[in-house]
Symmetry: C2
Subunit: 276 residues, 2 copies
């Protein structure tokens, strides 16, 4: 199965578009966990146990592990071993380098850490992306239009009459011969999300920016999904994992995660006319 | 001292523009090292001991360490402890993310690993770069025009008659209030290098692509340096570190490194009229 097909099957089976961002910023962890042998791992373990039946994917931003030194890597590796096999794992590292180096980045993502998919920055072009799309069953989400304010600096520049992010979308579509490429489009840009979905009707879209970044959830479902109401992977990070900083943090995370999943499914009912 | 000033002083003192890429691809290490406890570290140690008086900087591409798992991180950390303090260390990870995540990436680069400078991908814009330029003494080399063939995909796209990479150069110049930003410009693009140097007469340029990638060394010196024949950091990786795959690899690396340094200095004599 290609990565895109795997994602479809998983979303159908678990009935969810929700992806949880496992970004265990050490400074924000509940204080009672600080005495644990590996607080990041302990935090993730409890979040996963409380939410695994509500999500299609977990996204781990590598930044939060590398900033914690060796213990961070240990937390990341052990977290990945814990996630049930029927849930997609996304290594969010915004990678991409000259071909020779990108090969090693891809090896780290897919062979060392064993993520199912990785996020890739398109700036360096085709040979920086190729190593991430060699295996049909492994996915690459290429940054198109990101959720942050800095997306205004270059991604909207009109080159030959089209904004840069649309050039990225066009190349990504061309490169997608193995049906394992997706795009990253921030929930903070609903109009452009609609445009991008019209350009790539069948590609997975990873949509960050819901919650702490105030992206538009309804538009993310309505414009992010394909015609069947699928293939949008909508990420929520801080709003779920840091819903409470007390002993009840995992329970609170479950509550909020369920709320998000149900709200997404409510919008699928509304716009795609199925009962989810 | 700002990062730019530090680089100037170091280049004056060591009389070299040469940066060696410490990218210890495990598959390419001399076979006799494979039995070492940590082959990557052992390899780096011998390269550094054989070349530290010939270089202004060492650049470590993170990809080659992360692809080696936990042992790779150990090799990287121990390598960094070994490099003499008067030599610049560059963490080449092409980082950049939304502000909150970029902060953690910068923390990993500057606080955990203690690099002096990091390479940053500009695609995500200002808040992705900011955490890397907070401390005047720490440097950020922003990708402008990369050395690989994929640089043709997006970096040359034109807006208002100006290619994307020039828009990146303009923003980087604007962001350089703390005098700690440099640019990455491949030695494979000599004409564009000349143009970029004219746009930023006083910024450090990190110039990869000499050696295995067949970049133009003479042009890298001539067009990459500032008016005083400084501030070009010219990286050579594989051509030096893998000069020999035998027991004499460190000696061979020294020979080739000296040849490159001298050839760079010969071109400084030629174009900047000083005796180097």
């Amino acid at each position: 199965l290609t990565f895109t097909q795997q994602l479809q099957h998983i979303q159908q089976k678990c009935n969810s578009l929700l992806c949880i961002g496992l970004d265990p910023d050490v400074a924000k962890l509940p204080s009672f966990l600080r005495s644990a042998k590996n607080p990041q791992y302990e935090f993730n373990r409890r979040i996963i146990e409380a939410t695994y039946d509500l999500v299609c994917a977990y996204k781990l931003n590598i930044a939060f592990y590398e900033s914690a030194g060796m213990k961070g890597w240990e937390a990341m590796e052990r977290t990945l071993e814990l996630i049930p096999k029927n849930i997609i794992t996304i290594g969010d590292g915004k990678r991409g380098d000259i071909g020779n180096s990108s090969e090693h980045q891809a090896r780290a993502m897919f062979n060392v850490w064993k993520f199912d998919a990785a996020t890739v920055n398109p700036y360096m072009g085709v040979d920086s992306v190729e190593p991430f799309i060699q295996h049909p069953e492994k996915g690459a989400f290429i940054l198109a239009l990101t959720s942050n304010r800095g997306s205004n600096d270059f991604q909207y520049l009109k080159l030959k009459g089209k904004p840069l992010f649309e050039h990225v979308v066009a190349k990504a579509k061309m490169w997608n011969v193995k049906k394992n490429i997706g795009l990253v489009v921030g929930a903070t840009h609903p109009r452009e999300l609609k445009k991008i979905r019209s350009l790539v009707p069948n590609m997975p879209l990873l949509i960050p920016g819901i919650g702490a970044q105030s992206g538009d959830l309804e538009a993310s479902v309505r414009f992010g999904c394909d015609k069947k109401g699928e293939l949008a992977v909508i990420n929520v990070g801080r709003a779920i994992i840091f819903a409470s900083s007390g002993k009840d943090f995992a329970k609170a995370a479950r509550q909020i995660a369920r709320k998000y999943r149900d709200e997404m499914n409510g919008n699928r009912d509304k716009y795609f006319g199925k009962k989810y």
